[in-house]
């Protein structure tokens, strides 16, 4: 299973990076491949490109700020969540996404 995520927040200095890290840690714990792009005050980092999209099962998008370039995720199941929730409940979020993906399969 491979999950992508893009995080952003209004000030772009804290929650963007905390939620990115929380999602990464939770995926690692669950043994799920993931790549997380941050759209923060230092610009876009770890940008998700065409190669990353190959084989991806879903994308998590934080909802605190409009995410740039969402068109690239067309056709991919999207999970929208507040950055604060992604930080606090990352394990539960990843468990839910992975369960939903298994149901689809």
């Amino acid at each position: 299973m491979k999950i992508l995520a893009v995080t952003a927040c209004p000030s772009g200095v804290a929650h963007t990076y905390m939620s990115a890290e929380a999602i990464k840690v939770a995926c690692k714990k669950a043994g799920i491949d993931c790549k997380v792009e941050t759209q923060g005050s230092i610009g876009i980092e770890d940008e998700i490109g065409p190669d990353d999209l190959k084989g991806a099962d879903a994308v998590i998008l934080t909802t605190d700020m409009p995410i740039k370039n969402v068109e690239r995720f067309e056709g991919l199941p999207k999970v929208k969540v507040r950055a604060g929730v992604a930080i606090k409940q990352a394990d539960a979020l990843i468990a839910k996404v992975s369960a939903a993906l298994k149901d689809r399969a």
Partner: protein, 143 residues
């Protein structure tokens, strides 16, 4: 000017509300000339809190403002003598962030991003909670 120095690290802080902690750290920031307008900065931080509590769980809160009230990108740290209620959560460590609206130097923002990421890791939080002096806290943050 560094992002954080000894004057911005406060251990054993006695406070009973989040507003108290925010004001206290604003005073520390202001004392070092890092704010343009201390009172406005407090209002900016509280406005952000009102939108969404910055408690991130694990006993940590990260109140912040990116605003004109800030002169120099800075980070204040407070460790509370007793946990207090921050929104719905108990909080015992507070990282308070101040960033000018037009921040040109990216270095400070990169450090903030890296500290934000590290806060997610339990091991880092445990060591912060155990640090005995302000210097130790600074050393941990600088790693």
């Amino acid at each position: 000017m560094k992002l954080i120095d000894e004057g911005l690290v406060r251990l054993d802080v006695k406070a009973s509300t989040k507003e108290e902690v925010i004001s206290l750290l604003a005073d520390s920031l202001d004392c070092e000339g890092r704010l343009e307008d201390r009172d406005q900065y407090v209002l900016d931080v509280l406005a952000r809190e009102k939108e969404f509590s910055t408690s991130i769980g694990f006993g940590v809160a990260t109140p912040h403002a990116k605003a004109d009230s800030v002169r120099v990108a800075s980070l204040g740290f407070a460790r509370l003598a007793r946990p207090l209620l921050w929104g719905e959560d108990e909080v015992s460590m507070v990282f308070q962030i101040a960033v000018p609206l037009a921040e040109a130097g990216e270095r400070h923002l990169q450090i903030l991003a890296s500290i934000s990421r590290r806060l997610i890791h339990e091991d880092f939080r445990t060591r912060l909670a155990a640090a005995k002096t302000a210097r130790e806290v600074l050393e941990l943050l600088a790693e």
